[in-house]
Symmetry: C4
Subunit: 299 residues, 4 copies
């Protein structure tokens, strides 16, 4: 049996060299093309791809934790351009997918290219906060039933539980009546002037309650905003229940509050995330990849 | 083997023409019949088919949202005849299907043809409201545990949350003791006189609480009634909790209330609907068909 | 081919008659035996078979409705002998099956034949109530968290919701301290004397709260006891919440209370039952067999 | 073919005896080795294997009962060495598996061999309690929302429900401000000094509330600690709700409290366990093995 390829003689080397070099060049080009193509599909091409994915995860978590109802919305500032933010079109929170996310301008809260999709009527909450707060990367507006009772009274939200140490000693409540002209209608934040007034009430705080409406929670990342929103809810419920029991409620003092670096947001984020998995998905968790080892930094 | 039909000669054209024309006519007639038949199966034939389907959906949503318990009922006015309304026979709300829906007369709340099915003892709530309120297309009577505590006290339901702007500054509470003779037994609305008294208390409002019983919520469509019922519940809970915290509870003022056109009921309706889907059904949602783009009208 | 059986001659008739008659007799006997055997397997043989099945259903419903926790128990009087009652051995309510049911004597609450199974330490609650109340066919003892807060205060359970019309204007609360000697230990009803004291507090009522412990609810059937227990819970929660809101809480007056015949317990029973079905079972509901047509009697 | 071994002659007996005896010895040694190896795989080899498994079960139960949130942790003292305790690394409670469990020293709460895994920042709670309380075999630290409202007020947790008879007439609340120097930051128990202060507040009690933080519950086994934690929660909720209703709340007196031997913890433990099973697993419960017959000891 002949195996021709093994019968190459020394005189065929020059030909061979050309063939092999050509193959090498073709291989390199193909690799480059493939890499570029893969990149275009992956995260290198769209700097916002990861943020969009986190935004969808945030919606799922906040729906599951009972913070987002039929309304409520979450946004993230673009990684490409700080003058742009990303937010789903007007739709029920529980249905949000990456394709629903629209780019809007910080300057006027208008969509850059809505592609026929209707954008959210209260997007001015987000735009005006991004404008006023360069440190804010994510904004959550919820109709949380944990904070509304407090918002209807003169009582201010105060930090009472250990995980709410990111709160100031007292959080502001936005009264839209103070921001609009007598006779102006509605309680929703449906234009830039109302959004700017809310941003002024929020000032440099992480949260502002909105009377009869809910709250707005901001963070330096989607993850931080989501974890803050969850603990604002628990804190509000604990403060409310304690106030019903006693007039002597201990609130946290300055030395008990913490800086963002002192609060491990990764653990609740991972916990919330696994709660939205179904049983099949839970069984497949790659624990090593789950970031669990990075969840606790010691003081 | 001879296949005669393939042996047609040119001289047989006249015959052929007749055959073909006959075939064409038969085809057209058949198509017309089939279309008509299909129509009879579909919505053109029964103008109430869509309302019946929405009524079943309303039951599923209201059970899932915890508004309908073992009792409670929903009805819709017929699209065929405003003097007729549709309502399921007496049965647990969670089991209602299209076949359970019975036609009743507005005039006396009696079934037109019950086909041996027992009708609901409190159908007079529905009949008398349809009689008094030509604008009402759907009536919900629930034993909502969110409104009962308020109904037991002199405190009136007031709008406190932004989505409850369809409420008047104060909603009435029906006290059946004021409507019946001393000594008359029972608290249920089991005859026309009691139903008419409830309708008088409801007056032109969208909701009336019923002392120790629940409430009645009406709308210009099933969808509106369902969404109103859901937000009555949340509003009642928020008002209740705020009242426990403080005597200074801010309620919405006239300019904060809205007209039906200003409240986007489609978004909560779609949100409630997808919450009753199982996981398999959710995966199959045809998002384009989901009406999501019509959910938000800007001011 | 010969077929011998068809070649019988007339002279063989006498023989035939004997054979046929014998066969008939054997057939009749066999039928009788078979019927008797089938009966022994079915409900005619064990008059308590249906009650045992209902008892298991009652456990499932009461666990699902949040009325039975890790403890709590339900019993039914035997259909065979009013001096016997049926109750599961000591075990978590969520796991009860027909095989766990033990027969106990009403006279001393002792098991007739425990077959090595440990019986419940608080079975005296049941035995003593069956002794004092010939009208009672089923007893539920729960640690319901809906009634415990009221039981810890001087406030009595009162009927406030329409479905609680089976309650008296005021239900008694059992204070075990009044029933035992100073220094006797424990709050549980672990002997006949304590059981008898509880039965005296219950008197002719359908429910007695037990201070810091829960309640006991009785009925003329398992179904009635289960439905009463469910509405005791809702009534207690509504009364509690109303009392937090106002000192002016309207409770039901005599003419608003009802007799058992006026309360359709079938509808909530069927509703509770379908809530414990899984989705597969729900799809198979034979609606015609579901007793839905018997659920509402008009006044 | 020759098979030499079958050709043994009688004169070879002495040789045979040696061979057979050798074989016997080898067999015995092999059996011993095999047994020892099997032992090493089973529970005899790792005395802590069962405790680790129970620890994982405890996490699943406490997550399911709503006692452990994103934070919170459970530990058990080692069966091998009372100076060692076992506790999962820093991670969300819902994800804990046997492999996550790390051994720590009671003396300084430091890991013996973390194998690169980050340990929990509040492990000092556990270490210092094991140091101060030789009777304690398991420690639970939770952020239970049932106890936090009470912990924020001057009101002490008191036993009010029958199953909370393991509680003292009044449980202590740990105020970390009393344990640290003015100006020291944070409310978490992140060093031995804070842990020791908490252990002093706990003293010989089964539970200490932690102001604005949650509680610590200890037991003579994992099972006891878990059941105690569950009933601390229910007791706190019942006490809270009763206090909102009335100033006259009956708390349990000394003769109503019980010793551990008087409280059957097996029944709630089994009940909690079956609640974490999925439907498939429930169908396979080997009821005979479920320990149900041992769940109730009569007085």
């Amino acid at each position: 049996m002949n195996r021709p390829e093994l019968k190459l003689k020394t005189r065929s080397w020059p030909v061979m060299s050309v063939v092999m070099l050509s193959g090498l060049v073709i291989g390199i080009v193909a690799l480059a093309v493939a890499t570029r193509f893969a990149g275009a599909q992956g995260m290198t091409a769209d700097p916002d791809a990861e943020r969009k994915q986190d935004l969808v995860t945030a919606y799922k978590i906040l729906v599951n934790e009972g913070i987002l109802d039929s309304f409520g919305h979450v946004s993230v500032r673009s990684a490409k351009d700080p003058n742009v933010f990303l937010m789903p079109r007007a739709m029920p929170p529980s249905l949000v997918a990456v394709d629903d996310i629209v780019e809007l301008r910080v300057s006027d809260s208008q969509p850059i290219d809505p592609k026929g999709r209707r954008v959210n009527g209260e997007r001015y909450i987000h735009g005006e906060i991004y404008k006023a707060r360069p440190d804010v990367m994510s904004v959550i507006h919820s109709h949380s039933q944990a904070v509304i009772p407090l918002s209807l009274t003169p009582i201010k939200l105060k930090p009472v539980i250990v995980q709410a140490g990111f709160l100031p000693p007292e959080s502001p409540t936005f009264e839209i009546r103070d921001a609009i002209k007598e006779g102006d209608r509605g309680m929703q934040v449906t234009d830039s002037a109302r959004g700017a007034a809310l941003a002024r009430t929020l000032a440099s705080y992480p949260v502002a309650l909105m009377r009869g409406h809910g709250d707005v929670v901001v963070g330096s990342s989607i993850k931080q905003a989501v974890v803050y929103a969850a603990y604002v809810d628990i804190d509000a419920r604990m403060q409310t229940q304690a106030l019903l029991l006693s007039r002597d409620v201990v609130t946290m003092k300055q030395s008990e509050l913490f800086t963002p670096a002192e609060f491990d947001i990764n653990r609740p984020w991972e916990n919330f995330k696994q709660k939205i998995l179904d049983d099949a998905a839970k069984a497949k968790i790659d624990r090593a990849q789950f970031g669990l080892d990075q969840t606790q930094t010691e003081k």
